[in-house]
Amino acid sequence: MTEKAGEEFLVMPIPLELPFQWAAGSYHGRTLREIKDNNRFVGIRCPQCKSILFPAAMVCPLCHVKVGEDWVELGEKGTVEDFAIVEMSVLDPSTGKERVESQPQAVIRLDGGAVMEHRLEEKDPQKLRVGMRVEAVFKPEGEGGKGDLTDILYFRTIEK
């Protein structure tokens, strides 16, 4: 099983590039459309357990009931529940290239109750803390508009 010195083993490159069309469905799609068109975050409330589904979904995973139309605006401000400075790079399968996370990553609880992950503008570790208040900064009109979370540049600190 071991390699002998000087033995040649062949390796074939298999570059893979597959195009997809991902369908969000009408509920997740509404969450994305609101980000794209109106720069706001909306989820939907389960009629039974009152949990917020964000991104919105057709069925509550906790109680398996079909949600109605109880859409909830979650606000664009929130509180940092957790943050991390990423000191490694990853190979991003969306591009096939190495991706370096130069902004800190955070778990943000929006004031409307739902949690999302995004990047922070503030890079100074001394100024980062759990509990800090932040707000979403959307890409300027004409630069975003993809309808996903990359339409948001980052969350910036709300100065007191």
């Binding site: 099983m1 390699e3 994305l32 957790d82 991390a84 990853v90 190979l91 399968p93 949690v115």
Partner: protein
């Protein structure tokens, strides 16, 4: 179930970061031959073959078709299973179920990963929703770093406690002839290793490994004919948990496990304990082989599996409870943090637990008798497989 089931043969390859000398099929073949030799059977004795690996880790698909020569599935019934990190355990459970159903007497289970052929990070990022959080996903390193931070904030655990467990894992790996990383680590080595995302250092994370594992499973009547040392599969369970997409205002998400509500680890362990009369794992189980892709997971999951009380995991690390010589040994093999050929990793837990029950683990065999062993596997952020192996029925 109609039939009791036993493991009658186990096999694994040596685990390395690169194996240019074998292709995927040849890698699987090594493990299959080892398991058949261990059972002293030939392919003629095998009634069905279950196999699998993880999606997107190699650049070819339909591996069951590619593999048929090497795993001996030519003209035999069987199926391929791929369930992320739990793949090896799910394949094992399928083989147990096949044999228990009475449909097949002797079943071969094969799992592998050839991580030198793809990119683990890209594979794991592809798990995430392309229409939500894939754009900034990092993969398992970030998940476990987040668990570690949250656990430290909540419990008083310090980094030293993780380092103690990492050194414990390395001691096991150094005694395990099949293990991948054997580093003779000190606490200082661990705490000086490269920071990836606080508090996750390189050495707290599993390596990318090339390797394969195989099991031969038989129904009770067959098993008793095949071997004098059958390892009885007392029980197995798989459980899924809630996604992170449900938010309850006022209830803080349990960031250390991701998502709200009970975790799959808690439910799987409680289910299997209850069904088998286990009220105190530390007394009722002799050894555990758990699936810990990161040392931070191991620390926290002692609590979720109910091995110890909530908040006590790091104190166990301090006291050495889970050392090989400790009161409740966990992963005498060195575990996942030393060896992680992902698709095969969860099966290696079962292989190692079976060896402990048989008394055949060699240098990392526990000195006291092992009557009952517990194994786990974890997939993505949301599901758990647990098994219970036993020396007697």
């Amino acid at each position: 179930m109609a039939e009791r089931v036993a493991i009658v043969g186990v096999g694994q390859t040596y685990h390395r970061s690169r194996r240019p000398d074998v292709n995927q099929v040849e890698l699987m073949n090594e493990a299959v031959r080892a398991a058949l030799d261990d059972a002293q059977l030939t392919l003629k004795d095998i009634d069905a073959v279950v196999m699998g690996n993880m999606e997107l880790f190699e650049g070819n698909y339909l591996v069951d078709m590619w593999a048929s020569d090497g795993i001996g599935s030519y003209l035999k019934p069987g199926m391929k299973i791929t369930t992320g990190g739990t793949t090896g355990a799910t394949i094992s459970c399928a083989a147990f179920t096949y044999a228990a159903s009475g449909l097949f007497n002797t079943v071969l289970a094969v799992a592998f990963e050839k991580q030198d052929e793809g990119d683990t990070r890209a594979g794991l990022i592809s798990v995430r929703d392309p229409l939500w959080d894939r754009f900034m996903a990092i993969g398992a390193v970030a998940t476990f770093a987040r668990m570690g931070r949250s656990y430290m904030r909540a419990s008083g655990c310090q980094e030293e406690h993780a380092a103690l467990l990492r050194v414990k894992a390395d001691r096991g790996a150094c005694r395990n002839p099949y293990a991948h990383l054997k580093l003779n680590l000190t606490i200082e080595d661990v705490m000086n290793s490269r920071m990836l995302i606080w508090p996750m250092r390189l050495l707290y994370m599993c390596p990318t490994t090339v390797g394969a594992a195989a099991l031969v499973v038989a129904s009770e009547r067959k098993a008793k004919k095949i071997t004098k040392k059958p390892v009885w599969v007392q029980d197995w369970v798989t459980v899924h948990q809630q996604s992170a997409r449900v938010h309850r205002p006022g209830e803080e998400a349990r960031v250390r496990t991701i998502g709200v509500g009970e975790t799959s680890h808690e439910r799987a362990a409680q289910l299997i304990y209850k069904r088998n009369g286990i009220t105190k794992p530390i007394r009722d189980i002799d050894v555990a082989e758990i699936y810990e892709p990161s040392t931070w997971g191991e620390l926290i999951w002692y609590e979720l599996y109910g091995f110890c009380e909530p908040g006590e995991g790091w104190r166990w690390a301090e006291k050495g409870v889970t050392d090989m010589e400790g009161e409740f040994p966990v992963n005498p093999s060195g575990g996942v943090v030393a060896t992680n050929p992902i698709g095969a990793t969860a099966m290696i837990r079962i292989v190692e637990a079976a060896l402990q029950v048989r008394g055949d683990a060699g240098e990392h065999q526990m000195t006291r008798p092992v009557r009952r062993a517990f194994t786990t596997a974890w997939g993505g952020q949301n599901w758990t497989v647990a098994t219970l192996l036993s020396k007697s029925i």
